[in-house]
Structure formats: structure tokens, C-alpha cells
Amino acid sequence: MSLALRGVGYRYPGVAVPALLDVDLHLGSGEVVGVTGASESGKTTLCLVVSGLAPRVVGGRIRGTITLDGESVDDWPMHRLAGRVGIGFQDPTSQLSQVAVTVFEEVAFGPMNLGVARDAIVERTWEALGTLRIEGLAERDPRRLSGGQQQLVAMAGLLAMRPAHLVLDEPTAQLDPAGTRLVAEAVERLAEGGASILITEQKTDLLASVADRVVVLRDGRFALDGPTDEVLADPRLIELGVREPAPLRLRRLAATAGVDPALLQPAADA
């Protein structure tokens, strides 16, 4: 299964400048693509376009073609796309349905909307909760969880829809270190489990550990695009407004100071 963008450009309603330009992107089965870039470089826009929310819900104008398994999705309504591409956002609370009084019902919300049979919903819900290791929260009120836990519930709610592709827009941005760790570990497990994920992050350390490939955006275009190790070690990263991952920054500083970077190697996993 694959999701592909070819020559995609996008403008928000009422804005003359395009927010996204000439984007070519391929998200294959089981592939994790990391997206980073300075603020206002187009990361969130890319997520909205890939998930189909832009222009279907957000409005605006789109160019180029988006295909799922080779089939154009141009005339697909949002609810049809939602079953194939899931999207999660930064703010954990605004993703809650607000109608569910238990985590179980919150996670089941998507499949319920899709009209899936009841037994299948129950199975999918337990499975999604299990994948994120939050079965223990099933009976809790989602509105009374910590930000990190809520973010996991939101991700489980996406998984329960069994999308072929998952889009995560800075899932750890609003979380404290404990919450960030919870979500980062969950993303890593999903990636290892073979989920196909597009994830945007300022935290390049996280991308370094989950992404197969990384693209860096600048002014709505891909400035860098390649294997994670190469892109995150690219000297242009700093001028693109991206924070270097800690291990790579250390290696670069070591090289500049004439210190053998290999010295850092045995301890890098400290």
C-alpha cells in the first residue's frame, strides 16, 4: 500500500502565497518518513494536505495529484479518506471527541463513525489500546488524563480506524518530558511494528530514532530529502532552522575540535 504526492501545491483560502509548492512524496508500506523544518516552513500544511483535510475541511486550492495505491483521491470525501489515512495533532485535548466518557468509547469513536460492525469495533479498540499499551486506561475518563496519556489515547483512536497510513503532526510538542517519552516510545513501537507513518517534529532526536527517511521543508518546498542519517548530518541543517540531533552535533563539534568522534561512539547509547 502506498500514498503518493506528485507536484502538489497548496494555497490557504484568502492567502496569495502558496503554503506548499511542487511537493513529491512517497509513503510506502511500513515506511516512516520524518518531516522537519523551521517554524512556518509548511510542516503542518503538508500534514493537512496528506491527510486530505486541506482542502476538504480547511478550504483553499490544491494542485498536483495525490494517489492511494495508484488511485487518485481527488473526488474522495473526507470520511472515505479518514478510513485510509489517519491524522493526529499537537494538542491532545482538542482531539478528544468530547462525547466519550471512557477511553474505550473514545478510541471506538472513529470505527463507530465508519459504521463498522459492533464486534469488529470492540476487537479493533482492544487491539489499538494494546498496541499503545494503555489497556489499563480503558475505563478512565479521557478528559482527566495527563497530556501524554491523552496523546496516546488520540493515537489509539486513529489506529482503531485501521488506516494504512498515519500522519502525526508534532505529537510531542506540547508535552512535558514524561509525556514526550511515552509518546516517543509509542511512535517507535508503531514504526517497528510496520506502520506507515509521516511524522513532523522539531525534536530531531526523535526523528533520528524512528524515521527511515527525512525531508526538511523551507518555504513550502523540500530543501532536503533523503535517508535519515544523511539528512540529519547535513551541514545545511542549521541554516534551515533545524536543531541538530544531539549525537550528530557532538560528532560535528568533535571533528571541528580535532577530537576523534569515535571516542563518543561507545558511549552514545549511554
Binding site: S39, E40, P177, Q202, R243, A246, A254, L263, A267, A268
Partner: protein, 274 residues
């Protein structure tokens, strides 16, 4: 420049009964750079909101330059202690960046040349000098956050308190914040910041205060806070030392919380080995 002191600070939230501060003593000298770290709910935000009177202590007291803060209104305190909130969208209301930055100093009675000069300085410091006419809502997350910073900087307070200044910031934004912290403290003013970003903390601050369950459990230099002896304390409030600190410990280099420090220590060891 005044000294800021909290003594025996206890705060119990009236509606929930939560004891958010449980006996905090903190003394900050003029020109200090202090980072407060700890997991959510450890009392960091509650503590800093006492410094400008937004919250009043259940027990204990806050003094500024020896003067008891309980006798001052929030408006009076605001002219001495500036507090930048975490979420810029909870304060921005003006239709231009300049008007937004003018709001604080105007409330303090600044007018004319003094107002213009302080606003201009704050915009430059925050890297928004070219955005004066822009509508704040057209700015992206990083610049909106810098705008909130500028709007308090322009009040030119003796003490600047920042709540999570780097969340939602890109690399340039983080760098900007670091420069502002350095500039302000060079002038002898005090900066106190709450942060979850350990690299930013290690590289920017000279003193690190660790909070857990409403108490200060560690108070020292970054070297001390990220030294191996402190790791257990850090992890008890869900914090992790920086990668440089961890590598430095593994290589037996002593405390090396910053990347630069670690590399310098390695280079020095290389030289002695030769």
C-alpha cells in the same frame, strides 16, 4: 537592581485543595540566570506566579529588594517582575505587532520617546524588527512566541520570568531566546526560566533549580545538577541529564552538561595523553 526572595512559601489551591508548594526557599541575586526544572505538577508555574503577585502565598512570603510583596498590587509588581506565559495565544489581542508590544509599557505609564525606544529595543532583541506592522495572527508559532517575549521585554523590568520559552520554537527561536537571556543578564537584570529542554537549560543558565512535589530538591550549577550524583534526583521527577552529561560520565570526564564542555574535556584529555 533588587534581590528576589521567597521564604517558606506554601501554596494550597483553594478549589482543589492541592498543596502545590510545600515550603520553598529561593533567593535570587541581581543578574542571575536561573532555570527551574521538574515534571508537570511539580510546582514550577505556581512558584513563579508568586513572584509577581498573581498568586499569593498560603504561608511564607516573597520579598523584592527587601520589600514585602504582599503589600504591592499585581500592577505595581508587574513593573518590577515581568512574566511571559507559555502560550502566546492567551495574551495576544492587538492588530499589530507594535501595538501588542506597547501594551505592557503603556500600562506602566510609559509614553513618548521612552515608550518608542523600549518597544524598538524589545522588537530588535526578539528578532521582530521587520514585523512591527504585521498582524500577530499572521505570524507562525515561533514568531508569535517571540512576540509574547518582546511584549514583556519592553516593560524593562528588573526581573524577567519565562515559562517554557522554547516549546514550539524552531532552532532559530531557541537561539533567540538564549541571546535575550544573555543580554538581559549582562545588564544586571535577573532571568528565571521554567524549561523542559535540558540542552537549552545546560547551555543557557548558570543555576539550575529542580522541583518535585512542591519542593526544591536540588539547587546548583548545571555541572552539579547534571552530575552523576544528581541523576537519581532528576529521574525522580522524570528528567534526564543531557546526552553530553551521560557520555562525559561514561568516559570518566566528570560533569560535562553541554556539548561544548564535553568536547573541550575530551580535547584536553587528548592533549595530556600525548
Amino acid at each position: 537592581m533588587p534581590e528576589l526572595e521567597a521564604r517558606g512559601l506554601v501554596h494550597v489551591y483553594r478549589d482543589s485543595g492541592v498543596r502545590a508548594l510545600d515550603g520553598v526557599d529561593l533567593r535570587v541575586a541581581p543578574g542571575e540566570r536561573v532555570a527551574i526544572i521538574g515534571q508537570n505538577g511539580s510546582g514550577k508555574t505556581t512558584l513563579v506566579r508568586h513572584l509577581n503577585g498573581l498568586l499569593r502565598p498560603t504561608e511564607g512570603r516573597v520579598t523584592i529588594g527587601g520589600e514585602d510583596a504582599s503589600g504591592m498590587t499585581v500592577a505595581q509588581l508587574a513593573s518590577r517582575v515581568g512574566l511571559v506565559f507559555q502560550d502566546p495565544d492567551r495574551q495576544i489581542f492587538s492588530s499589530s505587532v507594535t501595538a501588542e508590544v506597547e501594551f505592557g509599557p503603556r500600562n506602566l505609564g510609559r509614553r513618548g520617546e521612552r515608550l518608542r525606544a523600549s518597544v524598538a529595543r524589545a522588537l530588535v532583541a526578539a528578532g521582530l524588527a521587520d514585523d512591527g506592522e504585521a498582524n500577530p495572527y499572521d505570524l507562525g508559532g515561533s514568531r508569535r512566541k517571540l512576540l509574547a517575549l518582546a511584549s514583556v521585554l519592553a516593560m524593562e523590568t528588573d526581573v524577567l520570568v519565562l515559562d517554557e520559552p522554547t516549546t514550539g520554537q524552531d532552532a532559530r527561536g531557541v537561539e533567540r531566546v538564549r541571546e535575550v537571556v544573555e543580554e538581559v543578564t549582562t545588564e544586571g537584570r535577573t532571568v528565571i526560566a521554567i524549561s523542559h529542554d535540558m540542552r537549552f537549560v545546560a547551555e543557557t543558565f548558570r543555576r539550575v533549580v529542580v522541583m518535585r512535589e512542591g519542593r526544591i530538591v536540588l539547587d546548583g550549577t548545571p555541572d552539579e545538577a547534571f552530575a552523576h550524583e544528581s541523576w537519581e534526583t532528576l529521574s525522580s521527577t522524570y528528567l534526564e541529564p543531557t546526552l553530553a552529561a551521560r557520555i562525559g560520565h561514561r568516559l570518566g570526564l566528570g560533569p560535562t552538561p553541554t556539548d561544548e564542555g564535553l568536547i573541550a574535556a575530551l580535547a584536553a584529555r587528548g592533549r595530556t595523553a600525548q
